[in-house]
Amino acid sequence: MIDTMADPMIVFDRIEKTYNMGAEIIRALDGVTFSVEAGEFIAIIGPSGSGKSTLMNVVGCLDTPSGGAYRLAGESVENLSRDQLAEVRNTRIGFVFQTFNLLPRLTAIENVEVPLVYAGVSRRERRKRAVAMLERVGLADRGKHRPAELSGGQRQRVAIARALSLDPAVLLADEPTGALDTATGHDIMQLFHTLHRDGSTIVLVTHDPDLAEQADRIIRILDGRITDDRKCAAKEAFA
């Protein structure tokens, strides 16, 4: 057993991600080193094309780094097989996308059930947990709706419920409010705060400095490098 209490949740050690585009080599991540403690709420900011999404995808085990070492909850992920990575994504990571990425033919409840299906949870248990999750994000009455019948904010809530369905170690959100208007974006942020208060570790990418200020810590990225990593003073206001 790995003593997860002693280890930080995420440890990035000189992580690199390069894309070989024929003539030029793009360094999307150029030696990124940082760590995230359990229960932290981190905001990642930086201009477009700076490597934020690339970073999130590596953290979420969707993408494999070209170099460096990555430990998730004390466990090295470099040498994991495809199936093991799938299991990590399934049980350890909750991913929230800018464009929601709900499955359009499934209802809200069924969307939330998808990770539970791959985790082999029985049908009845799945239904129970999905309903509970939707309740937690404030969508108890929309369970039977399909994504097309929901507003943008509601869709993102379903996506968050889905990300939380297996109680992941880390919740990753890549511009979760990017496709929403300001007011709805604030609602979603409130939801993240609630989750954070309940103990979730959250990494959030955003373009909005106001939203970033609400986190515990802000990491700024430029051209694949961390240029700034500071604690956030204003967070008390939202605690």
Binding site: D83, S122, R123
Partner: protein, 408 residues
């Protein structure tokens, strides 16, 4: 894969199949037609075989025929042996009759000749068969009207005749009672005692039957026989009986080998297996042609599944991001392909059975749909789903999660 996952996959697949109903029907259509064609064509092939077999059995059960002369093809039955010099003697017949009853049940020697028949002002050519009273039983050929001639008729060389069904129609007015009428055969008057049933074979229907004794005296003038019809005690002893007949007849005829003999023996079993062989080949040929359409149907499924995998790349990416392993994705698409294929197969089975039934009902052809052809065709549709769905499913399972997610 657990039962739980299989169930979930099936539900998911049925859903995505139903979400594009027209496309799904068109996709399954190839297999549908293929399976339908296999079942129908095999049914027709089987039907043809059964018909020929039934025809052969109608000749008489466990039939062996010894003919004078040299072998001619595979024909078991040569009703007309008129231009063959009869070589089978009374001694031969006695030898055969003396064989034990667990080998031989009935013996009916016969000779034939072409003759002119005349009744009133009607004049026709027909085959006259001289034979014994065992003939109806041996050849499974019975009078439908009146009676066959009797033992007494044979012993007393009476001039009595039983008409073939066609001969009766040619000589008499429809509905006219021929019994007791006098028909002239080569100028000699014969009294009609019966009319044979319709056999569907021209040779038998257009013949007339008279006692062998009368035949030998009045028609041929020879005391030999052109052929001997023998009913074996059972089909199990037919080969043994044939061997014994061959040996004994060679001895009596003082001949060295069957190849050089002046007689030959036709065996119903041999003919049956020849016919079955030919019909089997024919059925296989039909089945292979139909199987090609099954394969084409499979390619159709593969094509659509490849399109579907491409279209749903993003969905695959999302599922992988949520924890689907390669084999989960593989199972999902495989299940979908198999359901399409099996769905097509089920409808194809219904179509095939319907078509076979229609062939019997409306076209009056013989069609026998067998459980094995239904089972095979259905099994094939499962295999085709797995085989042709396999490659697209494998491609889907090998997608890179992040690239699949980025796919527009």
């Amino acid at each position: 894969m657990t039962r739980q996952a299989l169930l979930e996959n099936t539900r998911m697949s049925i859903r995505s199949i139903l979400s594009v109903p027209v496309r799904s029907i068109l996709t399954g259509l190839g297999v549908m037609i293929g399976v339908g064609a296999v079942i129908t064509l095999v049914a027709l092939g089987n039907g043809a075989q059964k018909q020929v077999e039934a025809g052969l059995e109608a000749l008489g059960a466990n039939l062996l025929i010894v003919y004078s002369g040299e072998p001619r093809g595979t024909a078991l039955v040569r009703t007309n042996t008129s231009n063959i010099r009869p070589t089978l003697t009374e001694t031969d017949i006695e030898m055969i009759r003396a064989l034990p009853p667990d080998l031989v049940r009935l013996v009916a020697p016969a000779s034939t000749a072409n003759a002119q028949l005349k009744y009133e002002n009607r004049n026709i050519a027909a085959t006259v068969i001289g034979t014994t009273v065992e003939y109806p039983d041996v050849r499974n050929f019975y009078p439908i009207y009146g009676e066959f001639f009797t033992e007494v008729d044979v012993e007393s060389r009476r001039a009595v005749v039983v008409l073939g069904a066609q001969t009766y129609r040619d000589l008499f007015v429809a509905g006219q009672d021929p019994i007791g009428e006098r028909v002239r055969i080569n100028g000699i008057a014969f009294r009609v005692v019966g009319v044979m049933e319709e056999k569907g074979s021209t040779a038998q229907d257009s013949s007339v039957l008279i006692p062998i004794s009368t035949f030998q005296r009045s028609v041929s003038g020879s005391s030999n026989y052109a052929m001997v019809n023998i009913q074996a005690a059972s089909s199990d002893v037919m080969r043994e009986l044939q061997a014994i007949l061959e040996r004994e007849l060679l001895r009596l005829h003082r001949m060295p080998s069957i190849e050089a003999a002046d007689f030959y023996i036709a065996n119903q079993l041999d003919l049956l297996s020849t016919v079955q062989g030919v019909a089997g080949t024919f059925t296989m040929l039909l089945a292979s042609i139909a199987a090609i359409s099954l394969v084409v149907g499979g390619i159709g499924i593969m094509n659509i599944m490849l399109v579907s995998v491409t279209e749903r790349t993003r969905e695959i990416g999302v599922r992988m991001a949520l924890g689907a392993r390669g084999r989960d994705i593989m199972a999902q698409f495989l299940t979908e392909a198999v359901i399409l294929s099996v769905g097509g197969g089920v409808i194809g089975v219904a179509l095939g059975l319907g078509a076979s039934w229609a062939a019997v009902e409306f076209l009056r052809t013989a069609a026998v749909a067998t459980a094995s052809s239904v089972g095979t065709a259905f099994g094939f549709s499962v295999v085709i789903g797995l085989f042709f769905g396999g490659y697209p499913a494998w491609r889907a399972s090998r997608l890179d999660p992040i690239e699949a997610l980025r796919y527009e």
